[in-house]
């Protein structure tokens, strides 16, 4: 053994073989069915899954049929085992994926969700409008003013109680966006409750715990304690919640304003990779620039320094670039 250079001290990784759609697939032991599907080059829809967060397997859009299991299993969280037999394209799987997409599409505003979300809706022929004469989003209530305690029924829903359903339309999570600070906004009309922001704010990245999941059932929601504005909460404005949000429910104020004004245009944006100028950690930044202005800052999720996460300076401290 060489005493110079790098010596791996990791335990040797065993490879196991499982069966995906009738084909043998070799994956590392300890990985998931989702990894096996990727290895087999099978496109698996995912919404609540993120490579840099602990799987919560809440959205259930990645379910697959596992031989011997009574119900479908989430590919993102279920560990791959030698000899497993998995099917990803059965009628049962397609039905569940389609209905999950219809459930979300009919209750949540997916207009700013990822491109792949819209592709999956098309692939699975999901028709969110089938649950109500007009299941499209009603016009959102006016935005709650900065600093004011946001008040909306969803924020104060009582667990175990709900109003009798209105048969003329399908229930949605529509509510006013929360604009309570200078840096980012929260529009929970677009929230699919994937738990990613809570994980990123908590144990998985920032350890700030400014937000949690509150309420229960369809009234479950992301909230600060007693719905206080972010400015009264533990928030440190790292923006890591924005970084992991898959639907645009959390957004830079710059992006929110430009979208409202109709000036947001990703085709006119240039993404420049650089290193954060502030401290010695050396986080990788991606500056999204439109019309010579930085409109958003991200970091790649697969970056070994950041895992996609930044702090307030790297995320929001860029106005000096324009010498303003």
């Amino acid at each position: 053994m060489s005493t110079q250079g790098y010596v791996s001290v990791d335990a040797p990784v065993r490879m196991i073989t499982m069966d995906v759609d009738g084909r043998p697939v070799k994956v590392r032991e300890g990985t998931t069915i989702l990894e096996a599907c990727k290895t087999a080059e099978i496109d698996t829809p995912t919404l609540c899954y993120a490579s840099n967060l602990t799987p919560v397997n809440a959205c259930r859009v990645c379910v697959v049929e596992l031989e011997g299991a009574r119900v479908l299993v989430p590919a993102c969280a279920r560990k791959a085992e030698a000899g497993m037999k998995v099917k990803t394209d059965t009628e049962r799987v397609r039905h569940s994926r389609r209905l999950v997409l219809e459930f979300l599409g009919s209750s949540v505003d997916l207009s700013t969700a990822s491109k792949s979300t819209h592709e999956w809706i098309a692939t699975y022929e999901a028709n969110p409008a089938r649950f109500g004469a007009d299941a499209s989003m009603p016009p959102p209530p006016a935005a709650s003013a900065a600093g004011e305690t946001a008040s909306h029924d969803r924020d104060h829903a009582e667990p175990g109680h709900h109003a009798s359903p209105d048969v003329s339309s399908a229930a949605t999570v529509a509510q006013a966006p929360k604009l309570d600070n200078d840096l980012y906004m929260r529009d929970y009309s677009k929230c699919i409750l994937c738990y990613k922001c809570v994980e990123a704010c908590g144990d998985d990245a920032q350890n700030t715990f400014a937000i949690g999941v509150a309420g229960r059932g369809f009234d479950a929601r992301i909230s600060t304690e007693f719905v206080v504005p972010l400015t009264d909460s533990a928030c440190v404005y790292c923006g890591n919640c924005i970084g992991v949000c898959p639907t645009g429910a959390l957004m830079f104020n710059t992006e929110y304003r430009m979208r409202k004004d109709g000036t947001w245009d990703e085709s006119k944006q240039k993404v420049t990779s650089t290193i954060c100028p502030y401290c010695g950690v050396g986080c990788d930044l991606e500056l999204h620039v439109q019309a010579n202005e930085i409109v958003k800052v991200t970091s790649p999720a697969d970056n070994s320094v950041t895992s996609g996460h930044l702090c307030i300076k790297g995320r929001f401290g860029f106005s000096f670039v324009g010498n303003k």
Partner: protein, 608 residues
């Protein structure tokens, strides 16, 4: 890690109530400090005091105030936002200021055919609309309170020093008035149980003073634990296996196999947990056991702890059972004093102690992994399985978790021997079972019969339907079970016969409905129940229960999207995704009763 707090501070009263549960406050940072540095997030066992502390605050003030929540958060090292998420998960906690007396009127499937409407009307007349305060009072509707044999039922949540929650059944306006005015109610209502012959699990119920350990011992109590100690842990497990005891909570898993799996786990410590969160609509048998024979559960838990090498056990009791709580607290304390719990149980050189924890109004916490999360002071959201509780249960440790009825069967097995026990019932379903007979029936109550007894015989024992009435439908196994029609009364009450017929006995619910029932109304209530009780974690259940309820309302109001057939097909599709893709049993069975009404009772044929 720093914890950040809003400026809200607790009142002296709130502080006192919370510190009575958490012990004296010796922390250096006072309430009101905006930031408190935490060495770590506290031990998991410490965090598990979240629910008892929230109960203490709710019981003193009638609500979870911001100052009180901050105090609990600081003392337990839990971020306030996270604690708010826990508090807003449970129906018995309110984060909005409420009057100190709140009347919860059960309007679930059984009570609504047995007088709940009249109670609700009386409340509306005297107090006003639901959820609105009127002269220090408020009333709201409640899911099943587990008092179906004495329907209609009411729970009165009474906050303030020296006050406590109370259940009333059958509830009359006079009783409700007396209770809200803190008048001592004269009589404790009887425990309605079936005929004395053939009672084994219920032998002491209604016969022996539930407060007295001596009375319990004089009637055979603690002979089972003595025998377990004589034969040792592994032979105790062998007895349970040979008796072929299947779990009585609904899933019918072999108890001995479960116990053996836990006992063999190398990780330490092991825990035993009793699932006493009986919340399935129409179920009340566990309450009857706990109210009538609480020491039996304490003894059975001790045997479980001994067999599975656990030194600590928890009973997670439904929050709406104040009487069972008082009786179990008394039983645990008495057993501790007399050496039946503690460092040297029965002088046999093993250590075991029990703690009673109360839920706070969340059906989902009867799901075993949700129950663990709730006990640990987290939101009662189910965990993905695998891993299973036998290896990763409470606090991530090997845990044996059993239902109340399952556990008290162990006393019976050790008392009579596995062979004799296994001779009871049928080869596939040994022993006796408790059934909760309620609804349109002459003598509702808890009935103990040998497994395999025909349903018709059980109904006969309960006196059948009222004179001049005929059975229209029977809900078996609760809201998560299914309906059968009057043509299926020959059903033998065994696991295997139920499986063969495509029904479930679940938690032993036999809710009988005669021709006066409006079945669509019953289905709407079941759909409302699941919409209210879904934890909200996974999409199929969170949204599926909403879409299911909406479709049923469209059918009931004759405002269908397309034809009635289209709506029935939509219900089927919604049911399929909930069954296939939900995380836990709640979502997986949220459509089963409704689907059974469609397929077995043909409820929508010929229009709604």
């Amino acid at each position: 890690m720093d914890l950040h707090f809003t400026t809200d501070v607790p009142t002296d009263d709130e502080r006192e109530a919370i510190d009575a549960v958490l012990g004296p406050d010796e922390a250096s940072s006072p309430d009101g400090a905006p930031r408190v540095a935490m060495q770590n997030r506290g031990t998991p066992e410490r965090r598990s005091l979240v629910l008892p502390a929230l109960h203490a605050l709710q019981a003193r003030e009638g609500w979870i105030s911001p100052g009180g929540l901050n105090h609990i958060a600081r003392r337990l090292g839990v971020p306030p936002a996270e604690l708010f998420g826990v508090a807003t998960f449970y129906a018995m906690f309110s984060v909005e200021k409420r009057p100190k007396t709140v009347v919860h009127v059960c309007d679930d499937v059984v009570c609504r055919v047995n007088g709940a409407t009249e109670v609700a009307m009386a409340c509306r007349e005297r107090i006003g609309p639901t959820h609105e305060e009127n002269e220090g009072l408020m009333w709201i509707k409640s899911p099943c309170l587990g008092l179906c044999e004495r329907a209609p039922a009411v729970l009165i949540q009474k906050a303030g020093r020296g006050r406590g929650n109370e259940t009333l059944a059958p509830a009359t306006t006079e009783w409700i008035r007396a209770s809200v005015e803190d008048k001592k109610l004269v009589v404790e209502p009887p425990l309605l149980v079936g005929p004395a012959t053939g009672r084994r699990l219920l032998a002491r119920v209604g016969v022996v003073d539930p407060m007295s350990l001596d009375a319990y011992r004089a009637h055979g109590g603690y002979a089972a634990l003595r025998r377990a100690i004589d034969i040792g842990p592994s032979l105790t497990i062998r007895e349970v296996k040979d008796a072929k005891l299947l779990g009585r909570g609904g899933a019918a898993f072999p108890t001995g196999v479960k116990w053996e799996a836990v006992a063999q786990q190398p990780a330490r410590p092991h825990y035993v947990v009793c699932n006493a969160d009986e919340s399935e609509p129409g179920t009340f048998k566990d309450r009857v056991v706990m109210e009538g024979d609480p020491f039996a559960l304490v003894e059975a838990m001790t045997i479980a702890g001994y067999a599975m090498a656990a030194e600590k056990g928890f009973i997670y009791l439904r929050g709406e059972y104040p009487l069972a709580k008082a009786l179990l607290e008394n039983a645990i304390a008495a057993a501790r004093v007399r050496g039946f719990l503690g460092d040297n149980v029965m002088g046999a050189g093993f250590r075991f102690d029990l703690e009673l924890r109360c839920g706070a109004g969340a059906y989902i916490c009867g799901e075993e992994t949700a129950l663990f999360n709730s006990l640990e002071g987290k939101r009662g959201e189910p965990r993905n399985k695998p891993p299973f509780p036998a290896s990763h249960g409470l606090f991530g440790k090997p845990t044996g978790i059993n239902n109340v009825e399952t556990l008290v069967n162990v006393n019976l097995i050790l008392g009579m021997g596995a062979t004799a026990y296994a001779a009871l019932g049928t080869p596939g379903s040994t022993g006796t079972r408790l059934f909760c007979v309620s609804g349109h029936i002459e003598r509702p109550g808890t009935y103990e019969v040998d497994c395999g007894t025909p349903l018709s015989r059980l109904l006969e024992m309960a006196g059948g339907v009222r004179p001049g009435r005929t059975i229209k439908a029977i809900l078996l196994g609760g809201a998560a079970g299914g309906f059968i029609g009057p043509n299926e009364l020959d059903l033998p009450l065994s696991f295997e016969a139920a499986r063969e017929r495509g029904v479930t006995l679940g938690s032993g619910v036999v809710a009988v409905f005669d021709q006066s029932v409006d079945l669509v109304d019953t289905l709407l209530r079941i759909a409302q129940f699941f919409r209210d009780e879904s934890c909200g974690q996974c999409v199929p259940c969170r949204v599926g229960t909403v879409r299911q309820e909406e479709a049923l309302h469209r059918i009931a109001q004759k405002r269908t999207l397309g034809t009635l057939g289209d709506e029935v097909k939509l219900l089927d599709e919604i049911g399929q995704v909930m069954k296939d893709a939900s995380i836990c049993g709640l979502g997986q069975t949220a459509a089963s009763a409704i689907q059974s009404a469609v397929t077995r009772l043909k409820v929508f044929e010929g229009g709604a």
